[in-house]
Amino acid sequence: MVEPGTRAIGHAVSTSPSFPEGRLLDAYRLMVLARATDERCLMLQRQGRIGFYAPLMGQEAAQVGASWALTPNDWVFPAYRELAVALARGVSLRAIFDQLLGNAEDVIKGRQMPNHFGFRDVNFVVASSPIGTQITQAVGAAMAAQRRKDPIVTIAFFGDGATSSNDFHAGLNFAGVFQCPTVFFCQNNQWAISMPRERQTRSATLAEKGAAYGIPGVLVDGNDVRAVFEAVREARERAVSGGGPTMIEAEVYRFGPHSTSDDPTRYRTDQQLSAAKERDPVGRLKGELLTSGTWSEDLDRELRESVRSRVSKTFEEAEKAKPLDPRSVFDDVFVTLTPRLAEERAHFDDLVREGVLKL
């Protein structure tokens, strides 16, 4: 727990009595998969095969650790960088790629930019671009669960920049007042596009912002999968037993650009980045596995190669999927077409029939 105004980083918690040690290698595999997907997607965007991408590299341990502390019935309210959370909850790589491509298989029917996916079957609410808006929504869903006496939590993922948003303050305030089962999980990756963490807020930590709302704040080393797991597990347990919400700050570093539309060399130095990469969560876990003797460089090379080829193959398959039906643009505005939308669709059909619109 964090005392306001101090910077007592409590990440001595590299141990977690509850962490499923037998699945440590699975955690590593998941992190490698997320990293490989990221690397491939950045390349695919440069090749013009996808339109946009927002990488998560540097945040793998935070996302896997947090996800593993949840149950399938818990609800995830993501920002737009939560690839590893989706994968950890069982979303297939193919479904992710279908969304990046906006093809006919895309669950959200091509409605949003890459990364803004959502999968109701695993309680992964659809992302949006506005910053922080999912925070109050996570609180509302938790208030609903509280009223139905469902033993679940909602977890809101957001970044350091979101702690300046209206909904961060409204959300923490509501959660404090109503003591609803929400975990506020801030991945402080040190950058909101070009704005460094220290210029986002004068507060010494983001975790301490919980104190203003009567919510416990926890600062955790986001590169340590066990520490994150433990922090979220504790917060979850407190929430489902009626102890209310928790504000967690997981300290990580955004290795990549904000998105493929961003050039981080304009605002940060190579030295800053390479210093951060010394704490690479994927490298750190690999090191631990090697030291423990359960893993070897050969096995690692094999894993990375097989993951890379799986990623490429899956993407190529997704590329072969049919394109969206253009008429579907009118669907899902409302549950049924309004007369106005029906008329617009009929007009669209005419334009196609007359050859004005060539599809």
């Binding site: 609800w75 309210f77 895309d106 669950v107 959200i108 029917k109 409605r111 949003q112 803004h116 959502g118 999968f119 109701r120 609410v125 659809v126 949006s128 671009s129 506005p130 808006t133 925070i135 109050t136 929504q137 996570a138 609180v139 509302g140 869903a141 938790a142 208030m143 609903a144 669960a145 009223r147 139905r148 909602t154 209206n166 909904d167 303050h169 409204a170 959300g171 305030n173 509501f174 007042v177 109503f178 669907d331 899902d332 505005v333 409302f334 549950v335 309004t338 007369p339 106005r340």
Partner: protein, 325 residues
């Protein structure tokens, strides 16, 4: 049937909807213990408890964000925004989130939220308790916008709003909350969206209005009748979805249209109606479409009666339309 005023009708309808469906709950500022600043939720906390009539902290984005989360989870929240003038902290949640949830999730996450909000002038509320800014929301695909003008419609339309699986902004004309009463059905019959209400038949000119502008528009029609002008009055009541067929049919019959709203004129809802008539009823028009609206000024406090359309201005515009052809 029971004789009720508009705010009583809303109160009773909320009560009945909550009795009918345990998933319906209310949230907003001062709606519980205080019963709402206009008393729309008076007594409901006593019957349903603080878990279903939730007094929230003072944050509109918190109210609407939380309502969205509740709806995604399966409840049917009815959120109150105390005055439409104070809805803007929640604009992002309404426009970027609520209205787009079904679409952006490919139909996975509908957001069953009703937002009730008193709107409009004529209560000496000044700049920030008087505005009629429905057009901002009508412009946003994905949210329905409903404005009742009678106690019976307030009930029937509110029941439809609470049933509707899509988000609804339910605007309550606070100026006529208590100034008129009417027979309200005791049953739970729904008034469907997308159907205008023919208030008064006429043959010379069509007057289109909604909400608190309906009574002065009817007043204008009565005055016009004394001068031999037969005015048809149509209460739109459902702005989104709009009963375009009723608007067009009326103008095809009368050949003249006067559009009334208290919102500012420029890019107001009347502009959409005028465009509709230009697109689909131009050849039926015998005179230019006229608009009687609030002026393109902020809403004035001391001079609100200068600003707000009244029966005289509406009748004047209608007579000009008749004279022009």
């Amino acid at each position: 049937m029971t004789e009720l005023n508009l705010v009583q009708a809303i109160n009773r309808t909320l009560r009945d909807a909550m009795r009918e469906d345990p998933n319906v709950l209310l949230l907003g500022e001062d709606i519980g213990v205080n019963g709402g600043v206009f008393r729309a939720t008076d007594g409901l906390i006593k019957e349903f408890g603080a878990d279903r009539v939730i007094d929230t902290p003072l944050s509109e984005t918190g109210i609407i964000g939380a309502a969205i989360g509740m709806a995604l989870y399966g409840l049917k929240p009815v959120a109150e925004i105390q005055f439409l003038d104070f809805i803007y902290p929640a604009f992002d949640q309404i426009v970027s989130e609520l209205a787009k949830f079904r679409y952006r999730s490919g139909g996975q996450y509908p957001a069953h939220v009703v937002i009730r909000s008193p709107y409009g002038g004529g209560i000496k509320g000044g700049l920030y308790h008087s505005q009629s800014t429905e057009a901002y929301f009508c412009h946003t695909p994905g949210i329905k916008v409903i404005v009742p003008s009678t106690p019976a419609d307030a009930r029937g339309l509110l029941l439809s709003a609470i049933d509707d699986p899509d988000p609804v902004l339910f605007l309550e004309p606070k100026r006529i909350y208590r100034s008129l009463t009417g027979e309200v059905p005791d049953n739970s019959e729904r008034t469907p969206f997308g159907r205008a209400r023919l208030v008064r038949e006429g043959s010379d000119v069509s007057l289109f209005a909604y909400g608190a502008m309906v009574p002065p528009t009817v007043g204008a029609a009565e005055a016009l009748a004394k001068e031999g002008v037969s005015a048809e009055v149509i209460d739109l009541r459902s702005l989104v979805p709009l009963d375009e067929a009723a608007v067009i049919a009326s103008v095809e019959k009368t050949g003249r249209a006067v559009i009334v709203h208290e919102a500012a004129r420029f890019c107001g809802f009347g502009a959409e109606l005028a465009a509709l008539l230009a697109e689909k009823a131009l050849y039926s028009l015998k005179s230019p479409v006229a608009r009687v609206t609030g002026f393109d000024t902020p809403f004035p406090y001391a001079l609100e009666n200068v600003y707000l359309p009244n029966a005289e201005r509406i009748a004047h515009a209608a007579k000009n339309a008749v004279r022009a052809s």
